[in-house]
Symmetry: C2
Subunit: 203 residues, 2 copies
């Protein structure tokens, strides 16, 4: 069994710590600029050990994308409420807080993943997005969805995926320039926006 050179941690925990460090380093550099060398320097451990944990640079970048996707999924877990609108607005508030707290890293990972020089990174990002959006349907009963005006059909799933991308864009746009729109107003209009959008979906 491998242990880290400084602290006795199991490899999984050590790897997770290194990924967290990797994500935090994205605050001041793009994902493209983040190499195993950069991480080795900041972690104070050898490049060789990092290659042991992450394989090559592409695999390391993929691991960073997956880590952020998992963190985002955990951060936006639905609260315990029968009201879809309540759950949605709390998840949106937590999503917004996550983006604010990790803004450079989030933008960098999102851009690199969607840029598509590495299809596996794009798939990891899009799979994470799909999981987040499918949870809206899968964590609620049919009755709870109906009370928010939502019917689960292929068309509403398609439009909900589109709404998810809209949320990402609008939140980043709003952070860059709030235009006098308050955070509560923003979250309310995104929450109500999903119901409004799905109300005009093909039956």
């Amino acid at each position: 069994m491998t242990t880290s050179p400084r602290v006795r941690l199991d490899p999984e925990t050590r790897r997770a710590q290194l990924l967290d460090l990797g994500v935090s380093l994205l605050a001041t550099r793009s994902l493209e600029e983040m190499s195993i060398d950069v991480l080795a320097e900041h972690a104070g451990i050898s490049r060789g050990l990092l290659y042991h944990y992450f394989g090559n640079k592409q695999d390391f970048h993929l691991a960073v994308v997956r880590r952020m996707v998992e963190d985002l999924y955990a951060a936006t877990a639905p609260v315990d409420s029968d009201e879809v609108a309540v759950r949605l607005s709390v998840s949106l508030k937590n999503y917004l807080d996550f983006v604010v707290a990790n803004r450079s890293a989030y933008e960098s990972v999102r851009r690199a993943a969607l840029g598509g020089t590495n299809p596996a990174m794009r798939e990891a990002y899009e799979a994470g997005r799909s999981q987040l959006l499918d949870r809206i349907f899968d964590s609620a009963t049919e009755e709870q969805l109906a009370a928010h005006g939502i019917v689960d059909t292929p068309a509403t799933r398609l439009l909900t995926r589109g709404w998810g991308v809209l949320v990402e864009e609008v939140v980043l746009d709003w952070l860059a320039d709030p235009r006098g729109i308050g955070e509560d107003e923003l979250i309310a209009s995104l929450t109500l926006g999903l119901g409004a959008l799905l109300s005009v979906a093909p039956a």
Copy 2:
């Protein structure tokens, strides 16, 4: 005055022809794979002359993005109707037709532009998107917008930009898998979707 080696055309026309050829070559290769060499081979002219028209590879890629953005803008020009919904649905139908006719090129340009290794390309793409979306407001009178439930505010402009990204994503997603949704249904729900979304915008 420079002329092409084979056909007497003014430089602007020749450059535009070469860009069209460049866009069409994206049907079978990504923008990253499209070099001045590839274009020279297909155009049957020298690399030197192409460098004369386009400068370096990055400038050439930027010119391709701008060309597609301009083509898309022209293809989706609003028709002459007092009804915002009519104009919007015709523009959306023309947008969809454009994407279908240039699908590989469109996806390749969009991905490369949004991937952001070249900020000028992203800016060109996003400026084109903003122009398309601003036209919804700027080509209609206040009364025409109001009849479709649209008020022109910073919040509705912000959400309209988000809706534009939603349209791009939903159209590409639908083309990849129509899910039994008809084209008319898709266009109707995207058209009505904008009004529905803006109806819940902060005042």
